[in-house]
Symmetry: C2
Subunit: 320 residues, 2 copies
Amino acid sequence: MAVHTEVTDDDLVAFVARYDIGAVVACKGIAEGIENTNFLLSTDGGTFVLTLYEKRVREDDLPFFLGLMEHLAARGIPCPTPVHDRDGEMLSRLSGRPAAIVTFLAGMWPRRATPDHCAEVGAALARLHVAGADFPMTRANDLSVAAWRPLLDSCAGGADSVAPGLGGELAAEMDHLEAAWPSDLAGGVIHADLFPDNVFFRSGALSGLIDFYFACTDAFAYDVAICLNAWCFEDDRTFNATKARRLLAAYRRVRPFSAAELTALPLLARGAALRFLLTRLYDRLHPSDSVLVTPKDPLEYLAKLRFHRDVRGPGAYGLE
Amino acid sequence: MAVHTEVTDDDLVAFVARYDIGAVVACKGIAEGIENTNFLLSTDGGTFVLTLYEKRVREDDLPFFLGLMEHLAARGIPCPTPVHDRDGEMLSRLSGRPAAIVTFLAGMWPRRATPDHCAEVGAALARLHVAGADFPMTRANDLSVAAWRPLLDSCAGGADSVAPGLGGELAAEMDHLEAAWPSDLAGGVIHADLFPDNVFFRSGALSGLIDFYFACTDAFAYDVAICLNAWCFEDDRTFNATKARRLLAAYRRVRPFSAAELTALPLLARGAALRFLLTRLYDRLHPSDSVLVTPKDPLEYLAKLRFHRDVRGPGAYGLE
């Protein structure tokens, strides 16, 4: 699953010696995460996560991701903090890959999300948005509406093999979203991938937000829409309005929605559903030997997209 | 790679509460190991390995494996110690699978084995054999000579597709080994799979032996022969006599070889090479969807088998 790059023990010992975190005690590849190679690194000084950035992450983006985690952690967001080496650098190289060491966060991600989890996520997402307001770097969202058309085009030939009529349905959806997509909503740093496996809880309380490698600059409400899709549907693809109400209510207690955000939410949720549908569809139609995981089902997101398309207004999410 | 069974956070918390090891802090799937699902489990009480035993491990064998680890650990062998729950049990169930918690061992396995590593392994293997002498349980080696013929038969149709003439060469080898395999060598508990990824080192010293799930009752010298194959060949499949001499010399300082063992060593090494060749060949010809790893190359072990077949006597391994 997650060890794309092997690290020799000699290379690791030399690498870790450049940091003030003590000597290596043990280092185990973590079987979570798809894009990068992650190791749980134990040293005399504590436990850390060592990440080797693989090809799907652009090296130019790493200063944004690492700088953002440091910025947020300094403002009390429970996210991994990059460790600086003795030269002050957060980013280095190991086994031919860009590499960084970040602090380890306790907790487990919830396999079954409850309304309480959703409320914690909503509040944490709003705090993240507020804490990121004075982060000086920006990064365009390269998986927003402008990226969906090329993704759709590269899937056009195979879409109907996944579900009859899917190609036409997505083309119509694409036309609508391109025409209606808002550009004037409040924005700043968003996480853009806050799925349950990126949120840790300990004794019921949120203890960590991880995986900032899709973070970018975009509308805050779009990040909320991603969470609605990721947290508020059941395994049978039905929408749980109680979870949505808890998530949104907790969010707006920290950061209130504007009228424009409220109005836009169903459209943003459709777009967020299309975004994950398209990347999953692309992975299904262009399987990669190097990613040893079962591709996720794109049709899960077709069900979500249809739900949001049929919504009459934000009231469907428990908002008024 | 290694997470075949998912564990929900609720199930895990309830499971761990049955042990005196404190509450769960974190739990990460480990991307090593193929047969079972392993998690690195952090609790208030320390770090442990949680293993869920998958279908390729026979449930009836688990008391042998766990009992052996406890027996060896009590005699100073640096191997994982099973943790007993409050009812005194080492074996339990989690997510529908047999499950156990064992102590965590510091160290890393050597990606490039050196002669020093080989000497440490030889000494540790001999100490394991001595420490196991009074272990009361036995388990037949179900991957010894009697198992090779059926494995070969099930590969017969495809062997020549892996290498021209391979089927005939293995059939001749099989005939020879069946006729000549010794049955009167000193024996007891053997590890039977002591490859580099099952041996941890810390600052150059051996700090752990893991993965006892092939352990069984067989000739000690056969275990030595497995290690000769696993540790003393280079990546280009050439034999490193310096490493062999160091491994064997360190072994015999702890547990001397009999004349019969010395004489049998080349034959045992051929047999050990055939054993790993056959299981790799079987996995190559019968790929399983459920094991998300690249099958190992059976021909690596053909080269080793041929080396041992051409050896004139134990002197080739640095012994006299």
